[in-house]
Amino acid sequence: MVMQIASSRRGGGLGAKLFEIDWLLPMLIFVIGLIGVAMIYSSTKGVWGAGATQHLTRLFIGSVLMIIIAVTDFRLWFGLAYPAYLAALLLLVLVEFFGVSVNGSQRWLNLYVTRIQPSEIMKLAVVLALARYYHDLPDWRVSKPLGIIGALIIIMLPAALVLRQPDLGTTLLIIAPGLIILFLAGVKWRIIGTGFVAAAIAVPLFYRFGLKDYQRERIWTFLDPSRDPSGAGYHITQSKIALGSGGVNGKGFMNGTQANLDYVPENRTDFIFTVIGEQFGLLGGIGIMALYLGVGVLCMSIALRVKNVFSKLMIAGITATFMLYVYINLAMVMGLAPVVGVPLPLISYGGTVMLVVLAGFGLILSAHVHRESDLPRGAGLLL
């Protein structure tokens, strides 16, 4: 009986695969995306063409892409892990030489048809590469120096390139999920502890030599917003006013004054949570957080159910990336962290992030759909 069901799954008719998708997750994601459409609509004072329509279109296209990825044979993605990583790395190098500067940082690559942000693609590629790396790494080597160094190289190569752009937010979103994968791969606590000590030494050095002036200024402004009430501190102050003035129940949909009168800058993109907080208050804010939490829990429950190392670590990495977006963005908007320019995924206006996030969820769903397929170990790397 069990074998029969398994074989029918493996047989892989499209209908059967669609049936196998854990539909609760894509539905939750879609709801969050629709909330994003409504919030963008509100933050642009009720103009559809100023972002809401585009967001909705991207949500549809991205969702279709997500489902296509979900039903595509997982072994394809498994096989593409390293090539995707190398391609993304190449794009990052190209950005270094041919990139387009926007607001003083060189993040965009002009492909004539459209402009893409290779650093966003790299977030996914790093996760795939690391998962593949641990999938092929002999288990006994996980906590050995060679195993750790290999993983760190995979993380730090793109991180260094992105930091040069400079883009502190994305750098964090490459390094942190990477380290989480290391952690979940089972690196010994002793080594992790040593890493923390090393970080405690390295961070001050990084602050001194690795950051640009404006990045240091952002950190200081965060620590003391009154330093620059009309400049960078203005974001934080106005953001807190918008949130705080929402109260418990909020001012009501389309009734946010802070956002509608343009007091909160970037309220369509990075600061869109202020629109939610102002219009729907504490209840709305907690509701949104609950939805994100639900996404995280669903993803991790899939990770616990799948069998192979690649799937587990990939799902964990993608989930970590997604949740880190949420955490960093919320901390920033609530004045708990510096303004680093990380969007609220699925809700903030922005094409690349939306597509990358939905593609990531497609991979998670695909891992779930194909959870029974065999993935050969040790074939991918020299180690």
Partner: protein
């Protein structure tokens, strides 16, 4: 395989650890939201409303200035201007350049704008340019979406009659100066469109004219642009009071016309109430230029004019009163009992004092002169003799009672007290004793004595009134004027009045022109004065004293006349001083006649029948 299952277990365990970590982070965010939205929610709501709502100061319309008949002399007209709020402007230079496509902004203006930006707080609107045309205003409005922080406004600005004969009197308005800003901290003064009285009635009555500011509740966006207005939550501005003047605009305009190109001052004063019907300084200027911003060319032109149009001569110019002072000398002598009205003095045309010789204006002399004749003929010799008896101190005392040597509270600033000299003054000022020669000069209103046309009019008014020391004023107030008694002997005054009557109405008088006012039974009294502005050397006198027409303008005599009418029941006194206008009998006497005629006509005196109705002939 066991290692693999260990690692899988480790994965699950560590996932739970991360999950707990993630959950507690959401807890932190929830607590933070609770802190911001519930605990501090009220504070932030207030801040949000402060962001959202603003009270704009509404500049009140300035009250008008009217003449005695309600004719407006200072009014408001619609004016378009553009201001900017510096804190809302990203790039001042770029914005100014963009505005410059529609409105020319000179470099001096750019400098002024930048200075204003520096001096004011960044949310204070700064005036970029006013007096825009409707086309410029409309073009700017179209470009607004690209110009954050730039606000076009329409409002009121001041307008004066362009002919300018009221400019000295009414003054003009302008942006408040630093002194005014320091004195009054009201934000009203910091509005770019607000104007404050700078001179004249505009300055003196500024508090009344100003009105009080209103407040308009508005909703503004982050760019400072007004999104909505809430008229129901606003206080309207209170328009300033109208200020009515005692001035007769028609008479003042006619007087200015009669002045022509001449320079000087003229006054018509009600001898009973002290109201000034005319207070004119000539030449004058267009006060509108000062409101719209004077160009350097205008300024240079005004400053280089030898007739000094900006100088308010009628109250600020001290001139030798010349023979018009003779009434004061006569009154002083009569009061001291040192002049007997019928006593005669022989005038030979000159009087020796030590080595100096003092001349009468009539070279061959007047012959025997009593007081009446001496005033009527303006004989200098008579007064040389009398001042020796009277002394300068008595003249000063009488002069003060007659209104000379002092300033009056007329409602505008810029008066000079003139000068009634005495021994103490000369010692203090010139470190020299008072000499008889000084008295000789003073007796005919020359030498050190100085008086303004206004003071001369007051003197004439007091002589005419006889009982009250009338003082002049130009603003119609609530209080009826309450004058002090004129502390002189009425009998003596009658003698002087009659002599002044002789000047105008008896044959041989220096301004003899009987019945010239043109009203039935209305006669006038007056006194000529010819103010020398140069010494005549003995050498020149020996050959021939040059006639005025032969001299450059600035060396010619001042033509002075004071008078009042009707003689038997005085209503108006008038004075006129025409700078370098020749003898007093000429220009100034004609002016005073014309002014008195006009004042009486407007007060209901009927023109004489043979003038008004020729068909009766």
């Amino acid at each position: 395989m066991s290692e693999r299952s260990d690692l899988d277990r480790e994965f699950s365990r560590r996932s739970v650890i991360l999950g707990i970590g993630g959950l507690s982070l959401f807890g932190v965010f929830g607590a933070r939201l609770h802190h911001l939205q519930v605990k501090k929610g009220a504070d932030y709501r207030t801040l949000s409303e402060n962001n959202q709502f603003n009270f704009q100061i509404v500049v009140p319309d300035r009250g008008r200035i009217l003449d005695r008949n309600g004719k407006p002399l200072a009014t408001n007209r619609l004016d378009y201007r553009v201001v900017m709020i510096p804190e809302r402007v990203e790039d001042i230079d770029l914005t100014l350049a963009q505005i410059g496509r529609h409105v020319t902004i000179s470099e001096a203006q750019t400098a002024r704008i930048k200075r204003d930006i520096k001096r004011n707080r960044s949310f204070t609107p700064i005036l970029i340019e006013d007096h825009l045309s409707w086309e410029q205003f409309a073009a700017l409005n179209l470009d607004l979406p690209e110009l954050p922080g730039v606000i076009p406004q329409s409002g009121q600005t001041r307008q004066y009659p362009a002919s300018g004969e009221f400019s000295h009197l009414i003054g003009y308005v302008g942006k408040p100066g630093q002194a005014a800003l320091d004195e009054d901290k009201s934000p009203l003064l910091r509005q770019p469109t607000f104007q404050i009285g700078k001179t004249g009635v505009e300055a003196n009555e500024d508090k009344r004219l100003r009105g009080s500011s209103g407040r308009l509740k508005v909703e503004v966006n982050a760019l400072g642009r007004v999104v909505r207005e809430f008229p129901s939550d606003s206080d309207a501005a209170k328009t300033g009071e109208d200020v009515s003047l005692t001035i007769d605009a028609k008479l003042q305009s006619e007087t200015a016309k009669a002045f022509g190109d001449e320079s000087g001052g003229a006054v018509v004063m009600d001898v009973i109430t002290g109201e000034l019907r005319v207070l004119l300084s000539m030449p004058t200027f267009d006060a509108n230029l000062f409101v719209s911003g004077l160009t350097q060319a205008d300024m240079d032109k005004m400053n280089s004019d030898e007739k000094r149009p900006q100088f308010n001569k009628v109250i600020g110019g001290g001139y030798p009163p010349a023979s018009t002072l003779k009434m004061v000398v006569a009154m002083a002598g009569l009061e001291a009992g040192l002049i007997a009205p019928q006593e005669t003095i022989m005038c030979t045309g000159k009087t020796d004092l030590g080595r100096r010789t003092f001349h009468c204006w009539k070279r061959r002399g007047h012959g025997q002169m009593n007081l009446h004749e001496a005033i009527k003929n303006s004989c200098d010799t008579y007064f040389y003799k009398m001042i020796e008896r009277i002394g300068i101190d008595r003249v000063k005392s009488m002069g003060l009672r007659m209104g000379l040597g002092q300033v009056f509270d007329i409602g505008i600033s810029g008066q000079t007290p003139g000068l009634l000299p005495d021994d103490a003054w000369k010692r203090a000022r010139l470190n020299d004793a008072w000499r008889t020669g000084d008295s000789y000069n003073a007796s005919i209103g020359q030498g050190f004595v100085l008086a303004t046309p206004l003071q001369l009019a007051v003197m004439a008014a007091r002589i005419a009134n006889g009982s009250q020391a009338v003082t002049p004023h130009i603003v119609i107030g609530e209080d009826a004027p309450n004058f002090a008694q004129l502390d002189v002997n009425l009998d003596h005054l009658k003698i002087v009045q009659h002599a002044m009557f002789g000047v105008c109405e008896e044959p041989g008088g220096t301004a003899y022109k009987p019945g010239a006012l043109g009203f039935d039974g209305v006669q006038m009294a007056g006194k000529t004065g010819t103010g020398q502005v140069r010494g005549i050397s003995a050498a020149e006198r020996a050959v021939r004293v040059r006639r005025n027409e032969e001299l450059p303008w600035k060396y010619r005599d001042h033509s002075i006349f004071v008078g009042y009418a009707p003689y038997d029941n005085p209503r108006f006194a008038a004075s006129c001083l025409v700078e370098h206008g020749g003898s007093g009998a000429r220009k100034a006497a004609e002016m005073v006649r014309g002014m008195l005629r006009g004042a009486l006509a407007s007060d209901g005196f009927a023109q004489r029948s043979d003038d008004a109705a020729p068909e009766k002939l």
